[in-house]
């Protein structure tokens, strides 16, 4: 279905085992991937500082060891497919997404929260920003029920 629409359903992610258990999310940020095809790429595996990502050769689907993952977000900024995100339910719910647009974002900015279909799901405040080779890795506060929905942000149009 996602090869028709360009949108992967949350149910598909669950059935592929790509969603960490809620207890893990409550312990702090963890990487989740939406890289579901066997792309000849293992950049995430190479950059992970704690070796929590396994691709197995050049080609394969990344598997994330959620116990090892520290939620640092380097993979979010590195993934050429922009298919890595962080989800965090410790304290206020947070999502971390890659961002490559203008204006550049900074802590405290308010942004529109976008779903996989581009719909605006709400507004959130930026909590943290860092950059990996010109990709901004943006952590944003989101309503708890949207942690598996928000996958992009856009600066609010004034």
């Amino acid at each position: 279905m996602y090869r028709r629409s360009g949108i992967i359903e949350k149910e598909t992610l669950f059935s592929l085992g790509l969603v960490p258990p809620i207890e893990r999310l409550k312990r702090g940020a963890v990487a989740v991937t939406e890289c579901v095809e066997e792309i000849p790429c293992n950049v995430c595996e190479a950059v992970c500082p704690v070796k929590a990502i396994m691709v197995g050769g050049l080609r394969g689907r990344p598997k994330i060891d959620w116990e090892k993952c520290t939620g640092c977000g380097v993979c979010v900024g590195t993934c050429p497919g922009q298919a890595m995100f962080l989800v965090d339910l410790s304290g206020p719910a947070k999502v971390t997404v890659p961002y490559e647009f203008l204006p550049k974002l900074k802590k405290g900015d308010f942004v529109e929260l976008l779903g996989r279909d581009g719909r605006v799901l709400g507004t959130g405040v930026v909590l943290r920003v860092f950059e990996v080779n010109k990709t901004q890795v943006v952590t944003v506060e989101v309503p708890e029920e949207l942690v598996m929905e928000v996958r992009s942000v856009r600066a609010r149009r004034s």
Binding site: P40, V43, Q82, N133
Partner: protein, 466 residues
Amino acid sequence: MRISEHPILTFKRGRELRFYFNGKPIEGFEGESIAAALWASGVRSFRNTPEPQGPFCMIGYCSGCMVRVNGKSKVRACIEPAMDGIIVESDVASLPGTGEEVPAEGEEILADVAVVGSGPSGLSAAISATKRGLKVVVFERHFRPGGQLVKQTHKFFGSGELFGGLRGFQIAEKLVNEAEELGVKIYTRSSVFGWFSEGILAVNSNGQLLRVKPRAVVVGTGAVERFLPFPGNTLPGVMGAGAAQTLMNEYGVKPGERAVVVGAGNVGLIVSYQLLQAGVDVTAIVEVRPEIGGWFVHAAKVRRLGVPILTGHTVLRAEGSSHVERVVVARVGRDFQPIEGSEKVFDADLLLLAVGLTPEARLLAEMGAKMVWSSELGGYVPYRNKYMETSVPGVYVAGDASGVEEATTALLTGRIAGLSAAISILGPQKELVEEREETLRLLEEVRGTQFSVKILEGQKKVSLNV
């Protein structure tokens, strides 16, 4: 219009300059092509044709940008640098031209390996051969080296060794720097136009003839974007998706304000994302097949930003008087024919075609290489063995010229061709043979996905076993 701020790119423009187009002054910058400066100034139609016609490919192949420069006819404005004070005029399309006259006497250049094209395949071949102490020369038609990587702003898939995670223009920089540091001589504005059976390449280098006598040749001439037949397809604003990339990512010139993109393969998806980064609205991506052709992750990137992908749709026509103003698309049935009454009209000043590429291997045909049609590989390609040697001994092919794939496979086939050229000169040295085998293994791994099935079928048809 020029782009002043970009999330990824910094445009380091050269000195301001001024030239004339049909008598009107045009402001440009050193390092820009004439075509980029004209487009930035709002010129959409370059030629003197009965109906307005715009540039299509922006990489030196189509004739949509042909102008006269200081009286010299049939100059492609897209690969000709803008210079202070030059007189540029619309060429008369129907006049048969003799083209450029090159004096018959020319400098002779002796080299071990001559490489044609300075894209990922050519440079990677050059680097592999030079590392073994061979004298390598590279010929590039454009006034800057790097091929089409220079306009790729997205991060590439791959592993560290294959530049995975780097952006295309960063890979181009690395390759050009490495080649030059190793002593490869890259001749820019140098077009290889002939091959003589004595083993001599004829090169027009800045209007001077070079007679190049190499011991081996690697042809990495790349590919050209495909055109699509529909009413209005010559209107300025209808161009290849890659042409828009050239304008916005190489020169920082906004190609338009609102685009419709035809084709949801990787090129269409990636260019759509890059258009958004350049501040161009993408109204829709239209794909005739029932499914997205490119990687899902590339599709997801644009869908998250609200760009609709209309699968099962085709473009019917482009409308407008002097340039594209509207694009009409329609749903197609199982027979891929448009369904009456399903038309949708989009206001757009850009209609970008991302409907595939075709290998540019005409030089090899001229050299006498046995050619074969492969729809899987995009068109006419030379027969080759797995070491990338064509039917002409000592002549190798690499990259998209051997079959349309992408930059990673171009790097790898380039490396194989460069190593093969080195082996043909130095003999089968152990280290060379081992590196070539390792590269072949890597190539096989990269081609191991479901999306390479077609490529592999094509490879079977055009490869001879040795």
